[in-house]
């Protein structure tokens, strides 16, 4: 009887049912395989290398700003490599929040020549804002990060301002964070270790209150940090050279 039904009129219907069954089987196998399939986002690896100073002021507030004079280098960078030379204020080491300001070049921001940048990480997330201009290789510029609320020039505790040689380049507001925990000045490379020879940081200062006046005071302490192959040559608490790589 069955064989009879499969002939002529029954055949197309059976083929149709078989196709559906096959489709259901494939779907079930796919569902079964999902949990064993590593569908995590594959993060690109971005190794970071550093050479520089942390202020690490003991028993004292970090200050309402940081400044430092940075010599501009312009080394060849390989594919997928970035170079940043900057000063920074850290809001939280627990959550790695803070502001970084200086110059840099690299593929991520299409820097083929050095450009000023601001990098920000806080409760909103993190991101990097490049400027349209930058320093000339071989020149030195003084970078400032200031917190006007701290020295009573603003009523907004979330406002931070960024200057190069007294010209304001950026300002930003932070997310529920009102003060710095530490300050840093350093060279950073991402992805590879280009030659950073010639890097020179000097005049590292913190903005502090002294006898009811706000003034830039040279760092009176520091903690050196260097990652292979870079080397920091210490001159004083407020000046260093960085070399190596390539």
């Amino acid at each position: 009887m069955r064989i009879k039904r499969c002939t002529s009129k029954g055949k197309p219907l059976l083929n149709y049912l078989s196709t559906i069954r096959l489709f259901v089987m494939c779907a079930l196998i796919f569902v079964a395989a999902l949990p064993f399939w590593n569908i995590e986002e594959v993060h690109a690896q971005y190794p970071h290398f550093y050479a520089g100073y942390k202020l690490f002021s003991y028993e004292e507030y970090a200050g309402e700003g940081v400044t430092g004079t940075i010599y501009t280098i312009n080394p060849y960078l390989g594919y997928q490599c970035d170079l940043y030379e900057s000063v920074a204020v850290v809001f939280s080491y627990y959550y790695m929040w803070g502001l970084i300001f200086g110059y840099g070049k690299g593929h991520l921001t299409d820097f083929y020549v050095p450009k000023y940048f601001l990098s920000k990480a806080d409760g909103w997330g993190y991101g990097l804002i490049p400027s349209s201009n930058g320093p000339s290789p071989g020149s030195s510029h003084t970078y400032y990060i200031t917190h006007p609320y701290g020295y009573e020039q603003s009523d907004d505790p979330t406002l931070w301002e960024f200057y190069v040689d007294y010209t304001q380049l950026f300002f930003t507001h932070t997310y529920g964070i009102y003060e710095a925990k530490d300050e840093q000045a350093y060279v950073e490379t991402i992805g590879w270790t280009p030659d950073i020879s010639g890097s020179h940081f000097s005049g590292l200062k913190q903005l502090v209150e002294y006898r009811q006046y706000w003034r830039w005071r040279l760092w009176s302490t520091h903690q050196k940090y260097e990652s292979y192959p870079y080397v920091v040559t210490e001159v004083s608490n407020f000046e260093f050279y960085a070399n190596g790589g390539g």
Partner: protein, 220 residues
């Protein structure tokens, strides 16, 4: 017949898959979904710590951010019993407030002393503070701290300003960690010079963090 066998095999595999997925997405033991967190009084003597030697140095690596990041901080790690004194020394003699109530199961406490002080609580021994469930970051406060009115003026839509005793706390359950963009509950406040950031990971809620802050006291 052959196709039926394949169908059974597929059904068994699907069932296994569903079970495995359910296991992967379930909460760790000791935590309940959509149930109030159970709190226990902190018994300092029964707390373990994650380190081997008091004061051991740890460099906390910066991770794999594609952007410029800070130089890795170096911290010295202590047990809670020893670390409170070290923290007070770092903070110019101020003994930090510590939670006296914690979610049940947080049996490990570590004190990290470095550029500032981070006190962490975890369910198990942790490699460093990034893996903690609850953390309290304490640092020296600036000379000018925001008034409640100034804090209120700069609140974002997902932030809230609340008063706990005589402390004004800015709190949100929608902040993002700079380490891995994980969404966290985060509160900040000033109390007698030190400034505090208190944070917690999911499934801890804003109410849980408020309860932890309410319980914070200076250890005797």
């Amino acid at each position: 017949m052959m196709r039926k066998r394949f169908l059974y095999l597929a059904i068994v595999l699907a069932a296994l898959g569903v079970l495995s997925a359910a296991h992967n997405f379930s909460q760790p033991a000791g935590q309940a979904v959509e149930r109030p967190t159970v709190f226990n009084a902190v018994d300092v003597r029964s707390l373990h710590w994650s380190g081997q030697h008091e004061g051991e140095a740890l460099v906390i690596q910066s991770g794999n951010s594609p952007f410029a990041t800070f130089m890795p901080p170096t911290f010295n790690r202590f047990s809670l019993a020893k670390g409170v004194d070290e923290a007070a020394r770092r903070l110019g003699g101020r003994v930090p407030l510590l939670p006296t109530l914690l979610p049940k199961g947080l049996n490990y406490a570590d004190v990290y002393v470095g550029p500032d002080v981070i006190i962490c609580y975890t369910y198990e021994a942790a490699a460093d503070y990034r893996l903690s469930e609850v953390g309290v970051e304490v640092s020296k406060a600036p000379s000018r701290v925001p008034t409640p009115e100034e804090r209120r003026r700069c609140l974002q839509p997902d932030q809230e300003l609340i008063q706990i005793s005589d402390i004004w706390v800015t709190i949100t359950d929608n902040a993002h960690s700079g380490w891995n963009r994980e969404t966290i509950v985060c509160a900040s406040f000033h109390y007698k010079d030190p400034s505090y950031i208190v944070g917690g990971k999911s499934p801890l809620t804003k109410q849980d963090i408020i309860r932890i802050i309410e319980s914070m006291k200076t250890p005797l």
